[in-house]
Symmetry: C2
Amino acid sequence: MNKESSNIRIIDIAEMAGVSVGTVDRVIHNRGRVSEENEKKVKAILEKANYQPNLMARSLASKKQYHFIAITPSFEPGEYWEAISEGIDKAASETELYNINVTKLFFDQYDNSTFDVIVRNLFDKEEIDGVLIATLFTDSVSRLSRMLDIRNIPYVYVDSNIAGEHQLAYFGTESFDAGFIAAKLLTSQIGNQPDILISRIIHNGKNDSNQGRNRKEGFLQYLNENGFGGKLHEVELKIADSEYNFAKLDKIFYDNPRIEGAVIFNSTCYILGNYLKERELKNIKLVGYDLIDKNTELLSEGVITALIAQRPEQQGYNGIKSLCNHLVLKQNPEKVNLMPIDILIKENLKYYLNNKL
Amino acid sequence: MNKESSNIRIIDIAEMAGVSVGTVDRVIHNRGRVSEENEKKVKAILEKANYQPNLMARSLASKKQYHFIAITPSFEPGEYWEAISEGIDKAASETELYNINVTKLFFDQYDNSTFDVIVRNLFDKEEIDGVLIATLFTDSVSRLSRMLDIRNIPYVYVDSNIAGEHQLAYFGTESFDAGFIAAKLLTSQIGNQPDILISRIIHNGKNDSNQGRNRKEGFLQYLNENGFGGKLHEVELKIADSEYNFAKLDKIFYDNPRIEGAVIFNSTCYILGNYLKERELKNIKLVGYDLIDKNTELLSEGVITALIAQRPEQQGYNGIKSLCNHLVLKQNPEKVNLMPIDILIKENLKYYLNNKL
């Protein structure tokens, strides 16, 4: 469907045909009296313009209200989840006119129980017509998915996919491959012999993030397939305690002088980057994820070697739009929509940032 | 501007307000008699919908015809310039309704004189309102640009930029940086000591492609800045004579066993790739440009190490759209529009191809 031409307005058709808008209206709805000549002129233009009834506007006229819920992690300005949230906002503002309302609910990405609290209270209040879910906590998301299945409420996943559920659609990357690629980028810098440090952020609750786990599996798989001969070391850091982190990292780098590479499977690569910069450990190559400001600065400075990005704005935007298209236009999306896995280095970063959604 | 809401049609507004289309028309044009109540209802909806007069459609009604010329290299199916041409076609089909007509003229990218022939005959026939130019041959493009300046005809560049001209806009990559990045990718694989083979395709005429020259400069600059200690070898290949090419390459690889890396600064990386595959030279790392089918196959197979892409469809599409917006909507584009420099390896290729324009 040619988008622009199908959006042509009755007033434009009237001008082109040299008839009144009332005449065009009568031809479109096949009612009232129109001269044969005028009918012919109008129909020719309708055909040329690929005119189609506007379903969106029809639904608007129907006064049906839709209420969507988006459940994603909370964020400080500049953090990763801000980008997903911006995509959601953009889609929400575009669909607002069609009586779609989006409520955003936030949980703490380092505390599984905060997600469960949202789920527990979800069905208490208003009617819900669709849900967007950031799938960090696999078990909790599966539980929520079954509750939505029972109620016949469509839901979409963003961030990482979960198999065996009935999501309307998934928008995100193949996390395993994103981990595989990180290992390739890192070992292309340090070779196969040095040790690698894997960092993670300490969580509350038993669950590690679904995406982080899949990325790590992909990372290990690459090393395994490609004859990696170094040792892997793991360190747990705190999201907001740099004194604690520096002490931990000082010790592990002192104890393991063969570490030449480092990776972290969420967007907090800057925590390690700031340490490396402060300690002037220029021989350590660091690979991470996501173009949040704190990361892109360190990439520009050469402290971070490479970042892998996954178009988060588009995930949030496409997620909400697909719920809207499903409910209003009766169009079903592809079930799995894999975003590009973009590779950013110091030299192509600025061009990428210039061309965001 | 919110695109969807500004495209709302008079018929939709009428339905929402519960009035006739004639009433909406009278309110919009502030003519004829409308009850105060209806005027209020219609105006409230116009405001909510961010209604704006449709300049595109106005121009259509004005019956003014626009004729654009796109001058790009000819291509076989699957070759690089097909993608630019597809972008041009997409923009042409979207703007056709507004009386814009695009004529595509093709030259031989390996023969400067074929471009000059097009220029010589360009102003013989119809009126021209705008020109899109693929800037392969710098001197010839500069000459054409001055001819267009005199005639006050706007023109846009795609592929690579030329400084000091009066182009309305440029859509493409920073070729120098795309070369710089190729060197970084290649030396991250082979290190700083082995020799590198630089291939080029033999041209007719004095001019090497503008883009190829800029990429090569960037490539050499990176090696220079990063202590490259190997030797550079150059080889000239023919676009369609694999017997000739194989003989040339056999000799140069035999004579120079220290060559471990290879690069070519246009889209014909597959010529070298096919040779490496046939001769089973698995230790040679090859970096090239552009996601044409022959290249992506070899990337998937691991024969090519990395490809750099620059969204050619979007260059062609944006080029034509910007001429249209300039002439019809009186909107001026940014003068320099740098596309992302995308890095593709075997592992992220398929996700990228899934998400094209």
